[in-house]
């Protein structure tokens, strides 16, 4: 290798880039293609070094990449790519799946930081809150006594405060009597200082964000917390600094410092759990993104080198050892192995791979070593397409969310209005301490209201459900598809390739006459004749004979009559294969075998008569067998209460035979590919919500027409435009999974929305004191904050339950 190769240099520099490139320069690695020798390498390197703003450029031939340190104000990454291209080599910036990976990493980092930040602040302010609470006990009990003096009811309406007065107060009175001897001014002074500290340190973001939103004429959860705690703080501050302002009006000058601190602590605790739970909603996407290996062992210049995967080019040879992840999509050229594809297709058994078979990047090689040719790369790769589909799905919105969106948009100002009305109501109606109690109730209203739960109700369910789908090998393209799939009434199945294997095979060879005990001889002659035929069924016969190890000959004088049959001479013997008319054409009487042929046709198979040297020799039947999984899946559809309809181009008799075997009750036979759309429309006109399952190639228009189009992913084409749901393997049971998952998700969304609404609809009136006149029930701001903190956590947690839903 030439001396200018710097293995590891690229890693070192990209590391610096991750740290932000502190000294006004940035480092970028650009994959370069087309370089074949050291001369190419130095040319690219010199060109890059000459670019303005470039302080260092290292080009690595083996890694096929350039690592450039540059001044972003003088040259852009695009400019560097252009410069490389001007030398005649190919260059592109990092491909999209790489950015998906980086984005996911950045998001995880930010969410982790957020979580730890919340946790630290919640713990510290929680401890301060508890201390403040204890220190405030003497103040509160004095207050209760004062309230008696003022004629108010000594018992608080709030269950928490009642408990504090009955249990905590006597306890601290006997345990720490000195607390009750501290002068009031000292206690309130200390509390004031502690509260300011907590508000500025732990709660600052509530106030800054509320202010930022306020300037945009919008309001969110931060507004409510900021106004609630802010009001309580200002009230307490006035009571501390100018107690006579209250006492002169006959109102006790009490303080709410401990409430402010504990509210902040509780809401931070809620935020902390929410941050953790929200991170889990995207865990499936994170798992998918992390499937992509970063390097590939590529054969370059006769050597195996570990190169970054984004430098791999089409048709390069890649070596995979047992236990390794396959780095890119490709086709096996040498070696055999079993590959675990469960992470992408949901197929639990390892799939055997031989030369000619396709492998998928991101799957795990289990048993053997093999070499393969890279085919689709970067954004076109299967994994990148799946990741893109999932990200798109998670960015989409379910129609059910519209109401929640509308409400959360007007929610906060309305809550502010209710809080003001609450204060006024108490002030006017309460017979004792109206201002104090009105104020506490207003603060409780502000604190208990939770717009976040509504905002999170549907999107978290969509995120978890699409992730769960991917684990099951079902790609759901968005919230709308989920919602539609949850409400379908009719499953329309294409026959060929969906219900059946889509590949005809020989089911029966029935010899007669001279061939009665010579089945293989008969098969050999028929298969030899069919080697010259282009009929789709011919291939099935040839394959069958080869599987049985028969040596086939080439026919002489081959003749085919379209729609009837074929004949020719093999090893000097005249062979004719075809239908009844074809036999008559050759003066052969098919009647001895007619019963067999009729029976086979009645079972949905295609029988063919065989005549050898002008004498009937037997019947060969070919059929497209039903997939073993289809019958089970269809039974499941019916158990779900769905009507199952099969569409096929076959004649009525064959179609009905297949349907009977598969357990389908309604068949539409003789449908041309273009007729499938009309059939779906007809069902829709009957008022049915239709899901159409097909292979996505012939059935594209029908899939698009259906309310939910379910495409069976074939090959690398998983991003089928028309389909709302893509099945990663040709197993009809995954269609049942998709429906089941969608139904559950709809249930989860409705539960979430219900609880988020009901929580606010019940919580706000209680906090406002509507239950007080009858039940004497009232919520202190502290209880309100606890309820608020856990309402959004409960919504996210409910969505996360979908992850562990048993869908089999």
């Amino acid at each position: 290798m030439s001396t200018s190769l710097k293995p590891g240099a690229s890693e070192a520099r990209t590391g610096k880039e991750a740290n932000g490139g502190a000294i006004g320069t940035e480092t970028i690695r650009i994959p370069v293609s087309g370089m074949t020798c050291a001369a190419c390498q130095s040319r690219v390197q010199k060109t890059l070094a000459k670019q303005p703003g470039v302080s260092d450029a290292a080009v690595n031939l083996m890694m096929k990449s350039a690592t450039v340190t540059y001044d972003p104000s003088a040259v852009t990454p695009d400019g560097l790519v252009e410069a490389i291209r001007s030398t005649g080599y190919g260059a592109d910036l990092a491909n999209p799946d790489q950015t998906a990976f980086e984005e996911q990493e950045a998001r995880d980092r930010a969410q982790d930081e957020e979580y730890h930040d919340f946790r630290r602040k919640a713990i510290v302010s929680g401890i301060i809150g508890v201390i403040a609470m204890i220190v405030s006990m003497p103040l509160m009990s004095r207050l209760a006594a004062d309230a008696h003096g003022h004629g108010a009811s000594g018992e608080s309406g709030d269950p928490f405060m009642r408990w504090a007065m009955r249990v905590l107060d006597p306890f601290f009175r006997s345990a720490t009597p000195w607390l009750y001897d501290v002068p009031v001014g000292v206690t309130t002074g200390l509390l004031l200082a502690a509260t300011i500290g907590v508000m500025l340190w732990a709660g600052r973001h509530f106030y800054t964000r509320a202010w930022a939103a306020f300037r945009h004429h919008s309001a969110d959860m931060n507004t409510l917390v900021a106004v609630g705690t802010g009001a309580a703080f200002v009230y307490s501050l006035v009571a501390t600094v100018m107690p006579e302002f209250f006492t002169s009006r006959g109102v006790p000058a009490d303080v709410y410092y401990e409430a402010v601190v504990i509210i902040i602590a509780l809401i931070l605790t809620g935020n902390m759990f929410e941050a953790r739970a929200r991170k889990q909603t995207s865990s499936a996407l994170r798992a998918l993104v992390s499937l992509q290996p970063k390097t590939a062992r590529v054969v370059r210049f006769g050597e195996e080198v570990d190169a970054p995967v984004d430098t791999v080019e089409r048709s390069e040879t890649i070596v995979v050892r047992p236990g390794e992840r396959i780095p890119t999509d490709g086709q096996v050229i040498q070696g055999e192995s079993a590959v675990d594809e469960s992470m992408l297709t949901g197929e639990s058994l390892p799939v055997s791979k031989k030369p000619g078979h396709r492998v998928i990047g991101g799957t795990i090689n289990r048993t053997g070593a093999f070499r393969y040719t890279a085919t689709t790369l970067g954004a076109d790769s299967m994994l990148a397409q799946i990741v893109k589909l999932m990200r798109d799905a998670q960015g989409s919105r379910a129609p059910i969310q519209r109401l929640a969106d509308t409400i959360s948009g007007i929610f906060v100002p309305i809550v502010l209005s209710i809080a003001i009305a609450t204060f006024v109501g108490w002030f006017v109606l309460a017979d004792a301490a109206p201002a104090v109690r009105g104020f506490a109730a207003a603060v409780a209203v502000l604190i208990i209201a939770c717009p976040c739960a509504m905002g999170l109700a549907v999107p978290t369910a969509v995120m978890v459900a699409t992730g769960k789908g991917a684990e099951l090998g079902v790609l759901i393209k968005g919230g709308e598809a989920l919602q539609q799939a949850g409400g379908i009434t009719t499953m329309v199945l294409d026959k060929t390739g969906t219900v059946t294997e889509g590949r005809p095979t020989v089911t029966d060879v029935i010899p007669t006459g001279a061939y009665v005990s010579r089945t293989d001889d008969l098969l050999r002659l028929v298969a030899s004749l069919e080697t010259s035929s282009e009929h789709p069924l011919a291939d099935a016969i040839v394959r069958h004979a080869k599987d049985r190890g028969l040596a086939l000959a080439t026919p002489e004088g081959f003749q085919a009559v379209s729609g009837r049959g074929a004949q020719g001479i093999i090893d000097g013997v005249g062979v004719a294969v075809g239908n009844e008319e074809f036999m008559r054409d050759w003066a052969v009487d098919p009647s001895p075998m007619r019963d067999d042929a009729e029976r086979l046709a009645g079972e949905g198979r295609t029988p063919m008569y065989v005549a050898i040297d002008g004498t009937l020799a037997g019947v060969v039947a070919v059929a497209d067998p039903i997939k073993t999984t289809s019958t089970e899946a269809i039974a499941r559809f019916r158990a779900m209460g769905l009507e199952v309809v099969m569409l096929t181009g076959d004649n009525q008799r064959t179609a009905e035979a297949i349907a009977r075997q598969a357990g389908i009750d309604r068949v539409v036979a003789g449908v041309l590919p273009e007729g499938k759309v009309a059939e779906v429309k007809r069902l829709q006109a009957e008022g049915k919500t239709v899901a159409m399952v097909g292979d996505g190639i012939n059935d594209g228009p029908a899939i698009a027409q259906a309310d939910v189009g379910i495409g069976i992913g074939t090959g690398t084409d998983i991003a089928m435009e028309a389909a709302d749901v893509v099945l990663m393997r040709g197993d009809l049971r995954s269609a049942a999974h998709a429906i089941e998952l969608s139904r559950r998700t709809m249930r989860t969304m409705k539960q979430n929305l219900f609880w988020a609404f009901v929580y606010n609809v019940i919580g706000i009136p209680i906090a406002a004191g509507l239950l007080y006149p009858v039940f004497g029930l009232l919520l202190s701001p502290i209880l309100a904050s606890a309820a608020m903190a856990f309402s959004s956590v409960s919504v996210v947690t409910n969505s996360l339950r979908l992850r562990t839903a048993r869908i089999v």
């Binding site: 984005e103 950045a106 998001r107 930010a110 969410q111 957020e114 973001h205 800054t208 964000r209 509320a210 202010w211 930022a212 939103a213 306020f214 300037r215 945009h216 004429h217 919008s218 309001a219 969110d220 959860m221 931060n222 935020n271 941050a275 929200r278 990200r391 798109d392 799905a393 998670q394 960015g395 989409s396 919105r397 969310q401 929640a404 969106d405 959360s408 948009g409 007007i410 906060v412 100002p413 502010l416 209005s417 003001i420 009305a421 204060f423 006024v424 002030f427 006017v428 717009p451 976040c452 905002g455 999170l456 999107p459 968005g478």
Partner: protein
């Protein structure tokens, strides 16, 4: 119930005034004061040169809200939205453009570019991941 005192009347009046102000400020004033940005094809902000091939570009600052809150663009033309996130609220960490199937994470203190092409004239709303912050792209013919 005894007759209401002067103070009580004052509190009622004050409360009604406060409620009126809250609703005016967040609903009516918010609508009229929304900041607009108009982007024509091939033109951009932030000193971007008017290169014919590069799509129109607009920078949207994310700081407790989106400013500008509405962006007017030409329908059928690609537009590059650069989200410059200044705050660190968990609400604004994602921007969602449901019509374009985009849910993008915005790292704090960074500019994140999203390129979209509004297919036809109309309003395309965007919001934060929890749909508390809202903005819109207005595509015109």
């Amino acid at each position: 119930m005894q007759t209401m005192t002067m103070t009580e009347w004052l509190v009622i009046l004050g409360g009604l005034a406060a409620i009126a102000w809250v609703n005016w400020y967040f609903f009516l004033a918010g609508r009229t004061a929304a900041v607009h940005a108009v982007v024509a094809a091939g033109r951009g902000d932030a000193g971007e040169s008017a290169a014919g091939s590069s799509p129109a570009q607009v920078t949207i600052t994310v700081d407790g809200g989106y400013s500008p809150q509405q962006v007017r663009v030409k329908a059928g033309q690609p537009v590059r939205l650069v989200f410059d996130r200044k705050d660190s609220g968990s609400c604004s960490e994602e921007v969602v453009l449901p019509d374009f199937g985009v849910r993008k994470f915005l790292p704090t203190g960074q500019r994140t570019t999203i390129e979209i092409t509004p297919p036809r004239a109309g309003r395309y709303d965007f919001s934060c991941g929890m749909s508390m912050l809202r903005g819109a792209i207005i595509a015109e013919d």
